[in-house]
């Protein structure tokens, strides 16, 4: 039983790390600030949650599991807010989305700055 739980926990940890890697790749590859924040948030929420869940399963029913639950709770409390504040600040300082329904940048401007996040 314990071995089974440890195994499931290990799979969760590996899945969480994989999600974090995907998030990191997205952070590097996505074109503008907002999509990059989206990618980074996957690392914060999905990746960290899965890793913590896996560690909880490995630790079993103990004080350690409770502490991990507190860690998860505080991550859930802070990282979405941080992502929101980051997007807010990016919007406030004039970064415009480059893709999607809300794209504001005109095509001639896009041609001028073909790469990077420096929006006019």
């Amino acid at each position: 039983m314990t071995d089974m739980l440890s195994l499931i926990g290990g799979v969760c940890v590996v899945a969480g790390t994989a999600l974090s890697l995907i998030g990191a790749a997205g952070l590097l590859r996505f074109p503008d600030v907002y999509t990059r924040i989206h990618a980074a948030s996957i690392t914060d929420t999905g990746g960290a949650s899965l890793v913590l869940l896996g560690l909880c399963l490995i630790a079993g029913l103990s004080l350690t599991a409770l502490k991990l639950a507190f860690v998860w709770f505080s991550i859930m409390l802070t990282t979405p807010v941080a992502a929101n504040a980051l997007a807010n600040a990016a919007f406030g300082s004039g970064h415009r989305p480059r893709i999607g329904a809300f794209q504001i940048m005109r095509t001639d401007e896009r041609r001028k700055t073909s790469r990077g996040t420096e929006a006019p």
Binding site: S74, L77, T78, V81, N84, A85, N88, G92
Partner: protein, 358 residues
């Protein structure tokens, strides 16, 4: 000598990977021309080194590094570039040749000398075999605190820690003398804006600040059982108040925690620390010898079950001595960090006001 259990284990690999990350981040700091980028990279550098410290079993240090490096020093550096307008430097490559040669030479000598140092994790090295081991063997019997780092910090090397606390206090006073204790007049009310962009931040900060303060107290009073102590707790407490200032504005924070109060608390912490030492002297012991914190007649009255350890009744003095001086450290560190923050933030407010007036 017993061979190392295995030279290539998971810890070693993780440690080397983290060190390589540190090198990459440090290289990026050297290369970047933007001060803002350098500061954010330095914050990342601190976080990565905190993770490396955990791998090296230095839980207390990692805790401190994460709170200080990624939290307080980033805020102080950001305040400084706000006040110095964050000019971007423009060095010519000719000016870099001499420093690069000097650094390469010194670095080469250091690496050459490193071959003579004990291998990583050598249990028989002079540092680990003598002094460190002596502390590990003596502390559980003499101090009774499970966290040896706290026992050494607060009891064996208590005099040293008093000096460090005084240095922190002096640094806080130095910053305050140069930048002021905060804005002279009350800061301007925030400019009226259409719609509230920061409503998410405000609501969650209202929830987070008491949680952070509570965590600081946990770190403080759990410090002799697990990782933690006055230094970490003080910085976390200051971070809670700085978060309040960042989200709700300096004006509200200075009304809740006035600079005058912060100043007195910083002095009170050092006074409490030194006062514990003097109290030990008055009871016949040496300075900061907590075994003499309570008069022997008083100590006999304390029932042994109160500490759960009837054999070591004198741990009572050590226990409360560490608790009190850690409280002194907490007060001084938290108040000093706040004084520094008020100094930088106050200057910013003054600079903005001058700009608007001019």
């Amino acid at each position: 000598m017993i061979a190392l259990p295995s030279s290539l284990n998971a810890n070693l690999v993780i440690g080397i990977a983290l060190l390589v990350m540190l090198l990459v981040v440090a290289g990026a700091i050297v290369r970047t021309r933007s001060l803002l980028a350098a500061i954010i990279l330095f914050s990342i550098y601190s976080l990565v080194s905190a993770v490396w410290l955990v791998v090296m079993d230095a839980a207390d240090v990692a805790f401190t590094e994460a709170v200080i490096g990624a939290g307080v020093s980033t805020i102080v550096l950001l305040g400084a570039i706000l006040l110095t307008r964050g000019e971007v430097e423009k060095p010519g490559w000719r000016a870099l040749v001499a420093p690069a040669l000097v650094c390469a030479g010194v670095g080469g000598l250091l690496i050459y000398a490193a071959a003579g140092l004990p291998a990583l994790g050598d249990p028989a090295s002079p540092a680990n075999a003598h002094v460190g081991r002596a502390y590990l063997e003596a502390a559980p019997k003499e101090i009774g605190a499970p966290n040896i780092v706290t026992a050494v910090l607060a009891s064996y090397r208590g005099f040293d820690t008093l000096g460090e606390t005084a240095v922190i206090f002096a640094a806080g006073i130095g910053v305050a003398l140069m930048l002021g204790f905060g804005p002279h007049a009350s800061p301007l009310p925030p400019a009226a804006t259409i719609g509230d962009h920061h409503v998410v931040l405000r609501v969650s900060a209202k929830f987070l600040i008491p949680l952070i303060a509570l965590f600081a107290l946990y770190v403080q009073f759990h410090g002799d059982l697990g990782a933690g102590g006055g230094f970490q707790a003080g910085v976390i407490m200051a971070a809670a108040i700085i978060l309040h200032a960042l989200v709700f504005g300096l004006r509200d924070t200075m009304m809740a925690v006035p600079p005058r109060l912060v100043r007195s608390i910083a002095a009170l912490g050092v006074l409490l620390y030194a006062g514990v030492g003097v109290a030990c002297m008055l009871n016949g012991g040496a300075f900061l010898d907590y075994d003499y914190l309570f008069p022997p007649a008083f100590e006999k009255q304390v029932p042994g079950w109160l500490l759960g350890d009837p054999e070591h009744a004198h741990h009572w003095g050590q226990h409360f001595g560490i608790l009190l001086i850690e409280l002194g450290v907490l007060l001084t560190v938290a108040a000093t960090m706040l004084t520094i923050f008020y100094g930088f933030a106050g200057r910013t407010v003054e600079a903005i006001r001058q700009e608007r007036g001019a």
